[in-house]
């Protein structure tokens, strides 16, 4: 077997195992005997654990097959798209250039190619493809369009697989403990009330929870493995469904139902954009595949090659209004008549914005961010897995994956959306008091960071942050879950305090997460590797990219300062959470007395995740994770782009970013330390009373507590009008049509009355039998207006007349 086949097999097994788990578990619910045992949970833990092992094997296999070239190169050479290989298409991969050459990165294409050739001769590096793609099978042919199940495996796919399965395994194990009170036939839901005010009693749904979790893992892994954008869309919807099911898991609670609907509907709004993007791609590209695929021995270029060719640049026509499609070797694609195949530039922008629209919904970016905090109605393990670590990151993942199709204008939009999101969410997090909601807003804010990074061409920085964030955010969510479990489902921080002594493991692992997200650690060196908690490295990379971007495009000053300031805010609210919860004196003594540390089945996952949250980014830019990611970077990102028409944007190259890295690092650290110190003063010492500050700025506080009034605004803008339109339309039959019909009936009555006069005068007038006939006709006229059937008939005639008149008015000339 070739490397590609081995990888495909391993990842396919890792992908399908959770599905098998789901199938077994969901039916296990009907085997009464197993319904209230741990069997379902163990089953799903085994499945996802095996998935993790297979993913890890795949990662190692990939590394061995590529001789760990990804790690050998100290700087990515930025042109490996040419190394994207179709399995059967042969291999002419290029060796990876050593760091030194790239330091003098040159945007001149020809010169760079020369470098390549020279290197290949000199170094005789192993010639191994590092990206594998291919087709499972074809689903359908629609004319020239093919729908198929493809796979696309590069280092990003592998890292995502390993990350998702690892975190999912930890969370599954945690959930075995957390959800254990569902293991009963008479579960009492204290937060759901019947109409008479009593609590809802229902059978536990332990197996169902794990079945949904397994289905979610399957969908998420399918999304990551997908080799074409349509397949991504299918799994995209599947994770949406899983999210809906899991948010609404406590379906007896009205809030949970509302939150599930809200999440689903807001995601559909984003998906509408996604569909528009798909349509443009379908019509103009004629393919959904990411990369070159083979058909009857011919290579069909994929979307990425069509836009970016072989050198990562977008090639415009002379007038700049259209883009020329190219194939993987950089030659322009031809129409049948020999002219270049092109796409209007605006449509390319529409395609990019459309697909990004889907990402906005899924990753809870401004303006569709409001569903995510409400999604915290789901059980905490769900919040940890779905709504912080993986599913919401899928939007960022897709933005990264689809990067080659995004034009600089789209990237700028992405950057600003991310920028707005990260600031708005961070400010709300400052005033939130529900422990899970603080984390939810912090998630939105961090997702904003990732989007911002990708938008300002910090591709690696964004995805780097995605991975590190997944670890420390899932850690913190699980810690909060542990706290909630320990406090008997109390989520309000003002009732906690002083939990450090009662729950030491939880508190300390949480502290690791808090330090990581704040980017606070002081870098020091162990065994020659720079060591700092993961968040420091990734946030640093983003801020550095922002600084470089601002230097090159002075007008976009916000793209640096907003994330910088927000880094301080982040540190502030995260430490506020920690101080509030774990330090100080207990605020609710009675609850405090009953608090207990969680069982070992819940704390062990915490320790594992804490280890990764602290150390997964070890080494920073020269560490394993960063290098693995940069290996997948799309072509052309490393060199940057100079003043690209038509928006005249300059994207920073790696060289630019590197130059300002240490400077940016210092700024970020200052911001974070400031934030932490303020939090310490306010919440851990009696120096300043935070309540006083709240009173001073009560207007601002209220504004933030109300989440910038987004919900109110959407309610007024969409929900209310929708309700009005719906009620209007449902009543349309009764009110509007009936009144029209009655109008027609009135006319009919007039005619009939005339008819009656006619009858009376001419016919009955001659015969003196007026009495009973008049009576019956009169009665029939009186009830004329109530009968529906005749109104129906009247409406046939009226419709024909109205339609004909409309034709007259609208099309006077044929």
């Amino acid at each position: 077997m070739t490397t590609g086949e081995v990888l495909k097999t391993l990842l396919t097994i890792a992908w399908l195992l959770p599905l098998a788990g789901f199938a077994i578990e969901i039916f296990a619910g009907y085997w009464q005997k197993n319904r209230f045992s741990m069997a379902a949970a163990k089953m799903s833990v085994i499945c996802i654990g095996m998935s993790f092992i297979f993913s890890l094997l795949a990662l190692i296999q990939w590394g061995l097959a590529t001789d760990w070239t990804a790690l050998a190169a100290t700087e990515h050479h930025g042109d490996h798209a040419a190394a994207v290989h179709h399995e059967e298409a042969g291999n002419h991969a290029k060796a990876h250039e050593p760091h030194g050459k790239e330091e003098h990165a040159n945007t001149d294409h020809h010169e760079k190619t020369a470098h390549h050739d020279k290197d290949e001769h000199e170094e005789k590096h192993a010639v191994v493809p590092s990206t594998f793609s291919g087709r499972f099978y074809t689903l359908a042919d629609f004319g020239k369009l093919k729908l198929s199940l493809d796979y696309y495996i590069d280092s990003l796919t592998l890292i995502m697989f390993t990350m998702v399965t690892l975190i999912a395994t930890c969370i599954h194990i945690f959930a075995m403990g957390y959800m254990s009170d569902e293991l009963t036939n008479d579960y009492v839901d204290h937060q759901a009330h019947k109409s008479d005010g009593s609590h809802v009693h229902r059978p536990g749904r332990y197996y169902q929870f794990f079945a949904f979790l397994s289905l979610f893992c399957f969908s998420m892994l399918g999304l990551v493995l997908a080799g074409n954008i349509f397949q991504v869309f299918v799994f995209w919807e599947l994770v949406g469904i899983c999210s809906y099911l899991l948010i609404g898991f406590y379906t007896e609670r009205k809030t949970a139902n509302v939150a599930a609907n809200k999440a689903f509907i807001m995601n559909r709004v984003g998906d509408f954009g996604f569909l528009i993007g798909l349509m443009v791609i379908w019509t103009w590209f004629g393919t959904f595949s990411f990369t070159t695929s083979e058909l009857n021995g011919h290579d069909i270029p994929g979307i990425f090659e069509m836009v970016r060719g072989n050198d990562g640049a977008i090639s415009l026509t002379e007038d700049g209004n259209s883009m020329i499609f190219r194939d993987g070797e950089g030659h322009a694609l031809k129409n049948e008549d020999g002219s270049n195949r092109t796409i209007p530039y605006t449509l390319l922008v529409v395609a990019g914005l459309g697909v990004f629209g889907g990402c906005i919904g899924k990753s809870a970016q401004f303006p569709l961010q409001t569903w995510l905090p409400d999604a915290m109605e789901g059980p905490t393990p769900v919040s940890a897995l779905v709504h912080s670590a993986t599913m919401v990151a899928a939007g960022v993942y897709l933005t990264g994956r689809f990067y080659p199709v995004f034009t600089p204008e789209v990237l700028l939009t992405i950057a600003y959306i991310g920028c707005i999101t990260l600031f708005v969410a961070a400010t709300i997090a400052v005033v939130a008091t529900d422990i899970k909601r603080v984390l939810a807003y912090s998630t939105i804010s961090q997702l904003g960071y990732m989007m911002l990074a990708i938008g300002i061409s910090g591709w690696v920085a964004g995805l780097f942050h995605l991975i590190t964030h997944a670890f420390f955010k899932s850690l913190m969510f699980l810690c909060s879950g542990s706290v909630i479990h320990g406090c008997h489902h109390e989520q309000e921080m003002p009732k906690m305090g002083g939990l450090l002594k009662k729950m030491p493991v939880t508190a300390l692992t949480m502290l690791v997460g808090v330090i990581a997200i704040s980017g606070l650690a002081i870098p020091f060196t162990i065994f020659g590797m720079k060591f700092a908690f993961s968040g420091y490295h990734s946030k640093d990379a983003i801020v550095a990219t922002g600084l470089a971007y601002m230097r090159l495009n002075p007008s976009h000053i916000f793209l640096f300062f907003v994330p910088l300031v927000t880094a301080g805010i982040t540190a502030f609210y995260m430490f506020r959470l920690w101080f509030y919860t774990f330090l100080g004196r207990p605020r609710d003594q009675e609850m405090h007395d009953h608090v207990h540390e969680s069982p070992r089945i819940m704390t062990v996952p915490l320790l594992v995740l804490a280890l990764f949250a602290a150390g997964c980014a070890i080494g920073g830019e020269s560490g394993f994770l960063y290098k693995m990611l940069i290996h997948s970077e799309p072509a052309g990102v490393a060199e940057g782009v100079e003043a690209f028409a038509p928006a005249m944007l300059t994207l920073p190259s790696h060289h630019h970013i590197h130059a300002v890295h240490s400077e940016a690092g210092i700024y970020a650290l200052i911001a974070a330390v400031t934030g932490m110190i303020i939090a310490y003063i306010l919440y851990a010492t009696p120096l300043v009373d935070p309540g006083e500050i709240k009173r001073q700025f009560s207007g601002l506080h209220h504004f933030l507590v109300e989440k910038w009034h987004f919900d109110t605004l959407y309610d007024a803008m969409f929900v209310k009008p929708m309700h009005i339109v719906a009620s209007w339309c449902s009543a349309i039959d009764k009110k509007l049509f009936d009144s029209i019909l009655h109008g027609f009936c009135a006319v009919a009555v007039k005619i009939a009355r005339f008819d009656r006069q006619f009858d009376e005068k001419i016919v009955d007038g001659l015969v003196e039998t007026l009495g009973d006939v008049t009576f019956s006709v009169g009665r029939s006229l009186k009830v004329l207006q109530t009968g529906k059937l005749r109104q129906y008939i009247m409406f046939i005639a009226a419709s024909v007349v109205v339609l004909f008149i409309l034709a007259f008015v609208l099309f006077p000339s044929i």
Binding site: V725, C729, Y792, I796, L803, F804, A807, I814
Partner: protein, 545 residues
């Protein structure tokens, strides 16, 4: 040629060419006669009516399949039969298989759900098969007379089917409204036919387009656009519109939909399922044939393209209004049959969009750089795909309603609480049908919608209004989500109220098996759309050769 040779030729033509191709319908007629004879001789104790009918329909189905495979043999001439009254081609053959398969499924359903009882069996199946024969005429119509006869033959037995539940007030009321409304629209349509026949001088579909062009050309003055106030043009347009009214009644499109909710609520769920799919499929076949016939030779419509554009936009507007009206009105319904009635109105709207796109594409300038035949066949392809999926998902939904009715004696949504847990197979299949109706991937309904929306998008390059239609259609799929999911929510997430009457029986293996078989295609056609889509592509392309 003297009279005798003419007569001989006619007999030869009828016996050797036309009747063999008409044998599927003839077998159905024979089945009806046989069924009545069986009862006449009191043999129905040993040979129940459903067995006779299912054998007859099965034979007819086999013949239809043979005819279809015959079409692909080289040298087999397709075309007009019965001196041009009917037409036999791939399109006819496809719909014939579609309708006969559907009829078989419905007969199985009625037997499983116990409607009708043994006493009424022959009557019921006579009506069912009779109306299907009418539909088979509709799909092969090539003449305005057959158009009228087909619609009437379909409608008249359906009126009785709706009122078949004797002794139920709602049932007789529903059929009463249906018959009067149907008679009214039939009158309007006939009047339209009389106008068209008179002005065009022909009733044959293959000549109507050319004659229409000729008349319009004779009315037009050089350099002046044809005005609709010109009496000939206006009357022609009125005639076309009135014929479309008759078809719109069968499709239950917006201003002609009033019968639909009442008739569906009055009828039994089995009959409602039958009417919602079969008559809609046949009416769409007829609509496509009629529209193409008035277009005539599509490569030379330039001079009069506006008339087709106007029809296309008109259909588009009706489609959007139907979809919106159906979806929004379904929101507040409590009777589940009534809810599905509004849902069929909405789905007819979606499918009509394909025809609207077809007409707009047909109206394009021949100078424009598009391949009309390919684009147009894409529209038909989407329509056929949607109809096929719709057959399974809608029949599945109605079958489940029928089986649940047998358990709880109710068709109110409120009484559906907790049904999904008591009857998990029915519940899951309902879920499949409903997600397919919404059009979520990976269910079959998604591909149907996708194909139709895609052809709307193509049409929007010719006229912008189709883009508006597309957007509103997309918006409508969002609207529809709510009330569909509400059914599932009631079935699965709400507890069965205490004190609710017991179920009539345990879940029945036959019933479960039937709904699984019916709803599985709704899912499978979404996962493996390849085979069907290539088949319908071939069929659609035949219309434009």
């Amino acid at each position: 040629m003297n009279f005798e040779s003419l007569l001989n030729k006619l007999i030869e033509d009828t016996l050797q060419l036309s009747l063999p191709l008409f044998s599927a319908e003839l077998v159905l007629c024979g089945t009806i006669v046989l069924m009545l004879l069986v009862r006449l001789f009191n043999a129905d104790k040993f040979l129940p009516a459903y067995i006779v009918s299912i054998i007859g329909v099965g034979i007819s189905f086999a013949i239809a399949c043979c005819d279809y495979s015959k079409l692909s043999t080289p040298g087999f001439a397709t075309g007009e039969i019965f001196t041009g009254l009917l037409i036999f081609d791939q399109f006819t053959a496809f719909f014939r298989i579609f309708l006969l398969l559907f009829l078989t499924l419905v007969i199985c359903l009625t037997e499983l759900s116990g409607i009708p009882d043994r006493e009424d069996g022959p009557d019921f199946y006579t009506l069912l098969i009779g109306s299907t024969i009418g539909m088979l005429l509709m799909i092969s119509a090539n003449h305005l007379l057959i158009l009228f006869i087909g619609i009437e033959m379909t409608s008249v037995p359906s009126y009785v089917l709706v009122g078949f539940m004797k002794g139920r007030k709602k049932s007789s009321e529903g059929s009463l409204k249906y018959v009067v409304y149907g008679a009214g629209t039939a009158g309007v349509m006939l009047y339209g036919i009389s106008l068209l026949v008179g002005l065009l001088g022909t009733a044959n579909f293959s000549e109507m387009g050319a004659n229409l062009h000729q008349i319009l050309a004779s009315q037009s003055v050089e350099g002046v656009a044809l005005a609709i106030s010109n009496p000939v043009v206006g009357t022609l347009l009125l005639g076309i519109m009135m014929v479309l009214v008759g078809i719109a009644f069968k499709l239950s499109l917006f201003p002609f939909h009033f019968w639909c909710p009442d008739a569906f609520e009055g009828a039994s769920a089995e009959v409602a399922g039958y009417l919602s799919v079969a008559s809609k499929g046949a009416a769409f076949a007829l609509l496509v044939r009629f529209c193409l016939s008035i277009v005539g030779d599509y490569s030379s419509v330039d001079q009069f393209s506006n008339i087709y554009l106007a029809i296309g936009i008109g259909l588009g507007v009706i489609a959007v209004v139907s979809a919106t009206y159906g979806n929004l009105t379904a929101y507040t319904q409590n009777n589940i049959k009534r809810l599905f009635a509004y849902s069929t109105i909405a789905h007819a709207g979606y499918m009509l969009m394909a025809v609207a796109a077809l007409m707009v594409i047909m109206s394009a300038d021949s100078g424009a750089d598009i391949n009309k035949a390919e684009l147009a066949s894409r529209c038909i392809q989407g329509l056929l795909y949607y109809l096929t999926v719709y057959m399974f998902m809608n029949l599945g939904a109605f079958a489940i309603v029928a089986f649940i009715r047998n358990q709880i004696f109710s068709e109110d949504l409120e009484d559906y609480k907790g049904i999904g847990k008591a009857f998990p197979v029915l519940g899951i299949c309902m879920g499949i049908c409903i997600f397919s109706l919404v059009g979520l991937p990976p269910f079959g309904g998604f591909f149907g919608k996708f194909a139709i929306f895609a052809s709307l998008y193509e049409a929007s390059t010719i006229h912008w209004s189709m883009f508006v239609v597309l957007c509103l259609a997309g918006l409508n799929t969002v609207f529809s989500l709510y009330y569909y999911v509400r059914i599932l929510k009631t079935m699965f997430l709400e507890e069965r109220p205490e004190g609710a009457p017991d179920f009539q029986s345990e879940p029945n293996l036959w019933n479960s098996g039937y709904v699984v078989i019916i709803s599985a295609p709704a899912l499978l056609l979404g996962i493996f759309p390849g085979r069907l889509s290539s088949t319908v592509q071939d069929i659609a392309s035949v219309l434009f050769n």
